[in-house]
């Protein structure tokens, strides 16, 4: 060795592998406006489609008159349910086992429902055409309140289901009932409550909100009549699933369907399912023989494509008087709107809501979920969370605070007392999950020490005394949240989409010069896969991340995968990448052994190549092995260096975190200030700390928005009143608090690299932290639970109801 020989540290650093704060390679094009999004796709002769939508939440469609529209210059066709019936596409399956109207078939069931699809030579003409379509409606009584959906005299919404006593998930109790799902031991739980020393019960609502990605849902469909091939460019979080769905419902051979998801401007669950726009654009292309583009506007996105949440969770905890929890009972009323279009890749209609026991050692628990129809937009999707996990985390984290208040205990203390202990992992929860790993006490104590939790509580006590003396009109709240996520959908024993197991995949091809391409079944919508996937490969096989190109989103070239949502990419595809890379490495080791003339067992991997044990100068770099793979492989071995892995995870992963929100509220206006927000995340092995930090910032900003005002609201007669960013709270940089991030590392024992996933943790854990802060602020005035969202006027109303404002 001489001075020019790189050190081990230098060689490692050159790879920019796992643990490196590698800058996002995709940002080079994004920050220069050079991304290629669906709306950038412009094909020769392309037409534009747009929807006539219902002004009524519930009405019979008497007549659709398109004669004037067809006379509008540029309008070529008006597609209705009657048109779609000729190709058997008036209805489509949802991911939750229900069916959904593509275009209004006899009735409309929510305001802004798609009624007709106008196809024209440009968007202006399409919109002119929409305004010329005359639809005659007969209004019907709307059903808005989910708590009234199963009343005897409730209007029946789904006439297609009348008389069907069984749905996709078992018996139905009412024409507006979708499913009932129960988990846990009812008898044991009832017994725990019967002998409980202390009990709490609260109806905790998680209001209706929306993922609202920057880019709305859109597609370009192009049908080639000669080849009989359909190409679809779309904002798809799961392109292969879309291809299969299209093959199944359009009866096209799957090899003749090409689905391409180009750059995507955010998904957050909004782009998992199939929407009427996709079907209509495809049919329009088949009918006209021209490519057809459909681009949703913001109002359509907020009011028609899938919402999230609308879960109403009656929650009870049984405990001893010294604060040990002994039982949990939860009943959920789930409002799915007009169709159960919940993106639900599990075998259960309420996803993973049975993670509701959270981070606590509940000896017994029982859960029942009733899904119902209302005259609202269909859904609900998992808005930056694993399926129904954020609802569950909010439910248990609010309930633990309510219990702490009842016991007059500090909420952090109560949590510490009830945490699953490190030695209990793998931990079997009362509702059936096997938690892989965790060290909750360490994370909680680190949060408390770093934030000066005890001092903050002291300050709060002083401020409360000052408030009582009339010296201040500001109250202070501390919001503690300790969440356990369940992500990485998922093991084939638990998870499937339309019967397809939820594995994921990676194909790696190494080129002769020591570069390579990795193709994935996942699809980044901003997560930075092009950066992080290459980092995993870099560490696994010793080729610099810069030399690995990552490609996703084209179903013709990518191996079949189930897409990106539910924080599943790292737990599932991340594992597939590692496994494929290890196959490459195993073959490389055989090639190196042949070239170095030793037995392969005599080789050890050393950062970026193989070295002969005990003979440090005998080394062959991975770069050289790549070259050798194309010209001098051992006799009998096939040339080339590539591998594919399809990974079916043995278990879910369970990221967790400890969050604290410090908030001050002016009772005279309800205006709040987030003084401080601390987020400690444990996502196991950390692939790129900078990307994790970015994910946490983004997720916390969404959590802040949801808890503090973001709401899809309907008035009493079913009009959606939050159809734009004027009233749907989308915080800007000005409103967004400063985020402090921190971490512990508890690797997943069953994941090849120990990673757990992080994208959704901050949304899941952030919402209860904000809500607990507001509730904690008001608790000394006598409140137990104030529903979200906590916008200014509702905070003021809480203060007024509690007698703090005259």
């Amino acid at each position: 060795m001489n001075d020019l020989t790189p050190t081990r540290e230098q060689r490692t650093a050159a790879l920019e592998g796992m643990g490196c704060k590698r800058k996002r390679v995709e940002d080079i094009r994004f920050t220069q406006g050079k991304g290629n999004y669906v709306d950038d796709v412009k094909l020769p002769g392309m037409l534009h489609g747009d929807f006539v939508r219902s002004p009524h939440p519930h009405a019979r469609v008497k007549k659709i008159d398109d004669s004037a529209a067809l006379k509008v210059p540029g309008v070529l066709a008006v597609i209705t349910a009657e048109t779609l019936k000729t190709v058997n596409l008036a209805w489509m399956p949802t991911l939750a086992g229900d069916v959904q109207m593509v275009l209004a078939d006899g009735k409309v069931l929510f305001q802004n429902q798609e009624v007709a699809f106008v196809v024209a030579t440009d968007r202006y003409a399409a919109d002119d055409g929409i305004n010329a379509v005359i639809v005659e409606y007969e209004p019907l009584p709307p059903l808005v309140d989910p708590f009234k959906s199963m009343d005897k005299d409730a209007p029946v919404l789904r006439e297609d289901l009348v008389g069907k006593t069984t749905g996709a998930h078992g018996p139905r109790k009412h024409d507006n009932h979708i499913f009932e799902w129960t988990v846990g031991d009812k008898e044991l739980t009832d017994a725990a409550f019967n002998k409980a020393e202390v009990k709490i019960k609260e109806m905790i609502s998680y209001h209706r909100t929306h993922p609202s990605p920057l880019e709305t849902c859109q597609c370009v469909c192009s049908f080639d009549k000669i080849k009989g091939e359909l190409t679809i460019y779309g904002t798809f979080q799961a392109p292969h699933v879309i291809r299969t769905v299209v093959a199944l419902i359009a009866k096209l051979p799957e090899q003749k369907i090409h689905v391409i998801a180009p750059d995507i401007g955010g998904g957050f669950g909004n782009k998992v399912g199939a929407y009427p726009g996709y079907i209509c654009a495809a049919v329009a292309s088949i009918v006209t023989g021209k490519p057809v583009k459909w681009v949703e506007d913001r109002i359509e996105n907020l009011t028609a494509t899938s919402f999230a949440r609308d879960y109403h969770m009656t929650t009870e905890i049984a405990a001893t008087k010294d604060g040990k929890v002994t039982g949990l009972r939860v009943h959920v009323l789930a409002d799915h709107g007009a169709f159960d279009a919940c993106a639900d890749p599990s075998k259960w209609p309420a996803g993973f809501f049975n993670i509701v026991t959270g981070s606590y050692d509940f000896p017994t628990a029982h859960l029942a979920v009733d899904g119902v129809y209302t005259n609202k937009a269909p859904g609900g999707v998992a808005y930056r969370c694993s399926f129904r996990v954020t609802e569950a985390a909010y439910c248990i984290e609010r309930a633990m605070d309510i219990l702490a208040q009842k016991l007059n205990m500090d909420p952090a203390e109560l949590r510490l007392k009830n945490f699953i202990k490190p030695e209990q992992f793998p931990y079997h929860s009362a509702l059936g999950w096997e938690y892989d790993s965790g060290d909750y006490h360490t994370a909680m104590r680190k949060m408390m020490e770093t934030t000066g939790y005890a001092a903050l509580r002291k300050e709060q006590a002083e401020k409360r005394a000052a408030f009582a003396r009339g010296e201040t009109r500001e109250i202070m709240g501390l919001g503690v949240s300790f969440f356990t996520e369940i992500v990485g959908a998922g093991p084939s024993k638990n998870c499937d989409i339309l019967g397809i197991a939820m594995f994921d995949s990676c194909e790696i091809r190494m080129h002769p010069t020591g570069a390579g391409i990795a193709r994935m079944g996942t699809k980044s919508q901003g997560q930075g896969h092009e950066t992080t996937w290459a980092q995993i490969i870099a560490t696994e096989i010793g080729i610099p991340a810069d030399n690995i190109m990552v490609e996703e989103g084209n179903t013709d070239t990518a191996p079949y995968g189930l897409g990106t949502y539910g924080s599943r990419s790292t737990p599932v595809a991340g594992a597939a990448i590692a496994m494929a890379a290890r196959k490459i490495k195993a073959k490389a080791q055989m090639i190196a052994a042949y070239k170095l003339e030793v037995h392969e067992d005599d080789l050890e991997f050393d950062i970026d190549g193989f070295r002969v044990k005990g003979l440090p100068e005998k080394f062959m770099s991975m770069k050289d092995i790549c070259w050798a793979a194309y010209n001098s492989v051992p006799p009998g071995m096939e040339p080339g260096l590539e591998a594919v892995s399809y990974y079916d995870p043995p278990n879910m992963t369970y990221p967790f975190g400890a969050y604290l929100c410090v908030m001050d509220i002016d009772v005279d206006t309800g205006v709040y200030k987030v003084r401080r927000f601390y987020a400690l995340d444990d996502c196991g092995t950390r692939i790129n700390p900078m990307i994790i930090e970015g994910q946490v910032h983004g997720g916390l900003t969404e959590a802040f928005a949801i808890a503090m005002g973001q709401e899809i609201r309907y008035d009493d007669v079913g009009n959606v009143v939050t159809g734009s960013f004027m009233d749907f709270f989308m915080p800007t940089a000005v409103e967004t608090p400063h985020w402090e991030t921190d971490f512990t590392v508890t690797p997943s024992p069953h994941h090849p690299i120990g990673a757990k996933g992080v994208g959704e943790s901050p949304n899941v854990g952030g919402v209860p932290a904000f809500s607990n802060a507001v509730n904690d602020a008001f608790s000394f005035l006598g409140s137990t639970h104030i529903q979200m969202p906590h916008d200014f006027w509702r905070n003021w109303k809480a203060a007024k109801d509690l007698g703090a404002v005259a």
């Binding site: 919109d127 009233d727 800007t732 200014f792 006027w793 003021w796």
Partner: protein, 287 residues
């Protein structure tokens, strides 16, 4: 979110613009910054057949002194208001309020003329103009006339503008040296209209309020001048009892609509709070 078709006109003089407006009648709308009109057109709630863009008229631009008044051309943008030293020095409340209008992108485009002429009760400048005693110059087919801001607003989106008339400038009397001022605006986020806002301009003498004017934004179908409330503070040192009385007097004339910003009761209550806070802050900066 796609507008219908329309013809576009870009006159070079006020006379040409007035003539176009008169000739084309109700199908024509003048276009200033477009922040209200263009979204309405995209929603097809407004479907003018003709847009008369005022950006080509140089005479509508600029800020100049005219004796004790500051005369601001209607097409002066909020950004230009903010960039004006004269405004910042002589009329700091205008600077403060302009900064609370949306965000820099909006302020680069949004104009004072559009803001005051549209009759939108959510706009910030109308109440401020009433508080400052401003006058609007209107030019129409029959010549020009001046209308006091306090006489201009008749209802939501209804103003004293007659068919064919354009608001060409705003003349604002410069407040007395040493005056106190404040514009207190409660809004949910950047870019939002006020849940309630109050403008106060006052002078102090010997620790007591000598003169006072109070304007209110977005708590009624028109901007309001809270005359009774303003009268109630004269001669007082803004003690707690007075502030309570003043807030009540201001709330008495408010009639906001319930919306996503909150119910009527809340919007009136915070309207009173904004008045109280604006008075206190104005008094604290008065010399």
């Amino acid at each position: 979110m796609i507008p219908g078709s329309f013809s576009y006109h870009r006159p070079a003089s006020v006379a040409d613009a007035v003539k176009l407006l008169s000739d084309l009648g109700e199908d024509a709308r003048p276009l200033a910054g477009g922040h209200s009109l263009v979204p309405m057109m995209k929603l097809r709630l407004a479907t003018p057949a003709h847009l008369i863009d005022l950006h080509g008229i140089a005479a509508l631009k600029g800020i100049r002194r005219d004796g004790q008044n500051l005369v601001i051309g209607a097409m002066t943008t909020q950004h230009e208001l903010l960039a004006s030293d004269d405004v910042a020095r002589s009329m700091p409340i205008l600077h403060e309020a302009a900064l609370l209008i949306a965000d820099p992108q909006v302020r680069y485009r949004g104009t004072i003329g559009g803001n005051v002429a549209n009759g939108d009760p959510g706009n910030d400048m109308p109440a401020l103009m009433m508080t400052l005693g401003a006058t609007y110059r209107l030019e129409g087919p029959g010549g020009s006339r001046d209308v006091a801001a306090t006489d201009f607003y008749q209802g939501a989106y209804f103003t004293a503008l007659e068919p064919g008339e354009i608001l060409t400038s705003v003349s604002v009397p410069v407040p007395a040296a040493g005056h106190g001022y404040a514009y207190e605006k409660l809004k949910r986020k950047v870019g939002d209209y006020a849940t309630a806002a109050a403008a106060v301009v006052l002078t102090m003498a010997g620790g007591k309020v000598a003169t006072c004017s109070i304007g209110l934004t977005n708590v009624h179908e028109t901007p309001l001048l809270a005359a009774d409330a303003a009268k109630a503070v004269i001669g007082t040192s803004l003690d707690a009892a007075t502030l309570k009385k003043v807030a009540a007097a201001a709330e008495a004339i408010m009639a906001p609509a319930a919306d996503a910003r909150g119910p009527v009761e809340y919007r009136k209550h915070v309207g009173g709070v904004m008045v109280t806070r604006a008075l206190q802050r104005a008094a604290s900066v008065a010399k």
